[in-house]
Symmetry: C2
Subunit: 206 residues, 2 copies
């Protein structure tokens, strides 16, 4: 077949990733063959094997394309001390921003669905679990710092330790995200996710 320009090649690579994400979220990772992905992207399997070592590598790239930017954006809302002075509001905004991205960005939504309900963490994918645990630790630590701010500013009950509060918030939000993803109909969690976040933060206020 005709060789493409570098820009064209990058476009097909991107189309393959998008096709994979779409089919993974529809039919699950293991039931999505490279043949189906290729057809959906308008190429053949040869193209996929050119751009990616195998299905697992494609999966990892797909995941990173959503999560690496997400990690970079965390500090923007969580540690944005100039734009938002109140620490509790900053935590609330961080959680709400994540929900908002899920609602607005299809790629993010599909990737969360895949990671939470459409893939099996075995063999080469088992390492992803460890990465998730690491990310969670990082996020929890950052939330803890913000709770320490709130503690210093006497915004919360002084008996509650920032460590406990941070872990509790993180676990709450992890649970919420899982239910958000599972609630495909949208009438149980997706439609009231923001209210649940605000209620959670309200439980902390004095």
């Amino acid at each position: 077949m005709a060789r493409k320009t570098k820009e064209d090649a990058e476009m097909t690579r991107q189309r393959i990733i998008e096709a994979a994400r779409e089919l993974f979220s529809q039919n699950g990772v293991s039931k999505t063959s490279l043949e189906k992905i290729a057809k959906h992207a308008g190429v053949t399997r040869g193209a996929i094997y050119w751009h990616f070592e195998n299905k697992t590598a494609l999966f990892h790239v797909m995941r990173e394309q959503v999560f690496l930017p997400f990690i970079d954006r965390i500090d923007d809302t969580l540690l944005a001390t100039e734009s938002e002075k109140n620490p509790l509001t900053r935590i609330e905004n961080f959680l709400l921003a994540t929900i908002h991205t899920l609602n607005e960005d299809q790629a993010t939504r599909q990737t969360y669905e895949i990671l939470m309900t459409k893939c099996e963490y075995v063999d080469e994918l088992a390492t992803v679990l460890q990465q998730i645990l690491n990310n969670c630790s990082d996020i929890t630590e950052k939330i803890e710092q913000v709770y320490q701010d709130a503690h210093r500013q006497h915004l919360i009950n002084p008996n509650h330790s920032p460590v406990d509060l941070a872990m509790d918030t993180h676990l709450f939000f992890g649970g919420l995200l899982h239910m958000w993803v599972k609630d495909v109909e949208g009438n149980r969690f997706r439609n009231q996710a923001e209210a649940l976040v605000k209620a959670h933060i309200n439980l902390r206020k004095k």
Copy 2:
């Protein structure tokens, strides 16, 4: 092959379920063939197809064998008003009892691992998500009732509504269970799960 007695047949059926659970939790549902399950159970695929319609049916039976008894046991700790008077302690005991079962009972532990990280909710398994959502609603409602008790007994902040508290606790625990399962090493969440539960309940106390 020689026909077995009814008791023998029931034993092989049970061995098939156990083999499936073990292999599902090790290698994931989709990568576990009926051939492997059969070998691990000491039978041939013929035996599996005799006792179960297909792999999906076997999966459902495996799941129900752990979750139907669990649902039955909920009221024992959560609504045991005679043995434990304090509503907050009853909620705490319920959460701790679940963690305890995960630690002690291998079948329960493996089933949770399968449902959370080793299967893909597509096609026939997609219905399981709906069942999970329904179970969660039931549990949340029961927790809410206990929080209402706590409210009436002035054990918690009167500004906090039992509905919000129940949902918050449920999401917290869902998140904790997910992290518990993912923390295979055991040094991040599994070893401090009880402490996290107690800290969560403590956040409610006056």
